[in-house]
Symmetry: C2
Subunit: 147 residues, 2 copies
């Protein structure tokens, strides 16, 4: 099921790339595999620094009363901002496409009780490493690294 869920996040990342944006996608699923929300980074498209992929998927899922049985799937290891989202709302599981390009707070989430799975998916590694090589300034802006 993880691979099928990741496919949705990869589709979102590719949509972001086509829009000229940062290619990171995410999706939130219920325990039975129902898609609750999906989205991608919108820094460039919406000129909005607050919308990372995980934030967008979380927003798209609307107001939920209990996230413990949900799974957040993302093409790239979440940054502190998005790791904080997962922890605060008690999202039970996190599936990560890859953590080679960027390794966020995965250990922090594991220690907080989140079930973390890293798929090390070739599509995710290629898409993100090519993007970072092509647009390093934009990437650094997105993770708060000053010039």
């Amino acid at each position: 099921m993880n691979e099928r869920m990741l496919d949705v996040a990869v589709d979102e990342a590719r949509a972001g790339l086509r829009e000229g944006g940062i290619p990171i996608g995410a999706a939130l699923f219920a325990a039975d595999g129902t898609l609750l929300g999906r989205g991608h980074n919108r820094r460039v498209q919406n000129d909005d620094p607050s919308i990372h992929a995980e934030t967008d998927a979380f927003r798209d899922a609307g107001r939920q009363r209990d996230y413990r049985s949900t799974t957040m799937v993302t093409t790239l290891a979440p940054c502190w901002y998005c790791s904080g989202l997962v922890r605060q709302f008690g999202i039970g599981s996190l599936v990560v496409g890859e953590n080679r390009t960027f390794d966020g707070g995965l250990d922090w989430l594991i220690s907080a009780g989140v079930t973390v799975t890293v798929l090390d998916d070739d599509r995710c590694v290629t898409m993100m490493s090519e993007f970072v090589a092509a647009q390093p300034i934009l990437w650094n802006e997105d993770i708060g690294v000053p010039e």
Copy 2:
């Protein structure tokens, strides 16, 4: 200067309360005191769980290239989601109206190098404690506490 900056966040929190929302406000300031962005929690008003006060102020400030000299001011100690925002984007200073009603990740931010000031402001304590007493279910929803 902290009190004057907090006044902006309090105004935002009160605006949220008038709109029927959760009364938490925030603002982002440059080192010279220039207001960069301001906002408040919009869970109820926008039906959007992703917009906490700090997120809203961060978004309102638009894309910035370097947050190290900025100060985030918020009426209530930030949750993990908003603490993650502060940490990831390297916001240098955090001014908190109160941390009696909710104590987020302040120690975590201090250990990450963020300068944290807690003002223990009576207006903030009263507004938030009255809200939590009046609407405990909505408050728990906003911080991811299941029923």
